[in-house]
Subunit: 326 residues, 2 copies
């Protein structure tokens, strides 16, 4: 009880297009407990921020803690984020433009709140928890519904001139490839993101190819998830295996481009797709990356699959909250 | 004469596959004079380094100076360079592997010598002489026979974990594209470097397309140079214009990828091709870059054509020599 008034804990929030995840961490950044809400972005920013605040308060309560024991809250949000002013500038999958997240949440929670882009936050989480050697230069590639990136340069998080660095998902790697949501053709994301894999599977089935996934989920592949894809591959589904293999090859090319440009010690792969399909994809990603890096330039580069999965975001957000208040 | 024994001058050397350029600069980095030798790489590293030393001494003498007035010599060399140990690790277009450049030249010249990769050196030269606002994050793309890059990150030259960052020429942007010397397909360099432009012109003429270049240089296009291409375009050569336009479009895509990944304030374009064809290529490069950057992410990014041309290398090498000895 003596410790009740010491602000020893931080909360990390991962605000996504479909769900809000809040995690409470102790002073050693060990996880104490988490709470998950759906985002309900269609209700608008005000309602979503109210949900974020409630998710944070519920997580604190679940851990038998009180707000007065919380030192700060870190929030990772998708899209273009202005950390200095605590605003989401543009987040298409939330439908947000110029939303003052920090101001709103600080009013609701009465603790300091810090905001960053979700991929930069994931990079921070992986760097803190998984990269114990503290390499100076790291590139993170996070493959989920879309694909984003984060960077550590000279030992510090790097987000560029306007905090929008790391949009590795929209690197063009096949100039004549399929059209991406961003308007260009052949972006890494439209070739290897979760949606790309799902679309390729649906199209293969439509073209009469046989997949175990139709047995598992029905012809329309309702509620298809990355985990189903893993199960199908492990049960010998060659059609699905080939599609995932192709995504892994494209991922290797993107990794090679990043190694050629940035010469990092470590390339981190993370996100939901890697969490579910890392065992299936990593050997091909590594092989493809090695064969596409300039001869001699792969020396000492390690390709690392993050095990944090969904927790990378809340962990990184907690790191942000801690670092900003120590 | 009172100043004769003060080491107020630096020499910058650009060691290339075909020529060695040495430039003497005063304490304010104003150019005093230059000397040019051919490299004669076929004679081997020992002979080339002797030529570099002689080129430096000749340049000093041309400027009516003596070695004792030289504070330091900076050298930009192609390929993978280890600046800490002063070695060229691997330079295919010199045929060099593990050559102790600094040790050799310091013995010959008896002044401190510093070595860096030529593209990093060019970036340094442009940053010092042309980017007066001293932006914090800059990406340089240098288009010559091949294509290389340099970076300023957080106000400092960035060369990655093993000094090999910046190989932007081997970024894959057309995975099904033509084969590059590096072994991959569709690298930026094989689509937009000088050799790519020359090859496309030769192949168009072979296929019966009409170009003014055959009038100017004969059917075999002997001694074709970037300047000839500029002249042909200005005289209305549509075949050549289209080929250069395509190279500019690919360059724009590569620039867009770099902006998406690194979010710099400024992208510098330089090198022999830009020196000769900047007026022709820059509008298309800028347009293509803008249309390929993620929506919203081109904000405040400036695309800048360096005017230093061939002098970027010696200028950057002089900056290196000055910075390492002040």
């Amino acid at each position: 009880m003596a410790d009740n008034n010491t602000r020893n804990y931080v909360v990390g929030v991962d605000l996504g297009g479909t769900k809000i995840l809040a995690g409470v961490f102790d002073s050693k950044l060990q996880p104490v407990g988490t709470t998950k809400f759906s985002t309900k972005a269609q209700r608008g920013p005000e309602a979503v921020l109210e949900r974020v605040a409630r998710c944070v308060l519920d997580a604190i309560d679940e851990c038998d803690l009180e707000t007065k024991q919380i030192r700060a809250v870190g929030v990772g949000a998708p899209g273009a984020v202005d950390p200095e002013h605590g605003e989401v500038i543009f987040a298409p999958n939330l439908g947000w433009k110029d939303i003052a997240v920090v101001k709103d949440l600080e009013k609701r929670l009465e603790v300091p709140v810090f905001l960053e882009n979700d991929c930069h936050i994931c990079m921070l989480g992986v760097y803190e928890q998984e990269l114990k050697s503290k390499p100076k230069n790291v590139v993170g590639v996070f493959i989920g519904t879309g694909i984003g990136g984060g960077m550590i340069i000279n030992g510090e998080p790097f987000s560029g001139a306007n905090h929008t660095a790391g949009e590795v998902g929209h690197m063009v790697i096949d100039v004549n490839g399929p059209k991406c949501n961003c308007g260009n053709k052949g972006c890494f994301e439209v070739l290897a993101g979760r949606l790309a894999i799902f679309r390729a599977i649906q199209s293969a089935i439509k073209n009469g190819e046989k997949s175990l996934l139709t047995e598992m989920l029905g012809e329309d592949l309702k509620d298809l998830r990355s985990g189903d894809i893993r199960k199908a591959i492990r049960r010998g589904d060659k059609v699905v295996e080939k599609i995932v293999e192709e995504a892994a090859e494209y991922t290797g090319i993107a990794v090679a481009n990043l190694v050629n440009i940035l010469n990092p010690e470590i390339v981190v792969l993370g996100g939901g797709v890697i969490e579910a399909l890392g065992d299936e994809m990593m050997p091909t990603i590594t092989k493809s990356a090695k064969s596409h890096v300039m001869p001699g330039l792969f020396k000492n580069v390690e390709i690392f699959a993050s095990k944090l999965g969904d927790n990378a975001g809340i962990t990184g957000a907690a790191v942000l909250a801690r670092d900003k208040t120590r």
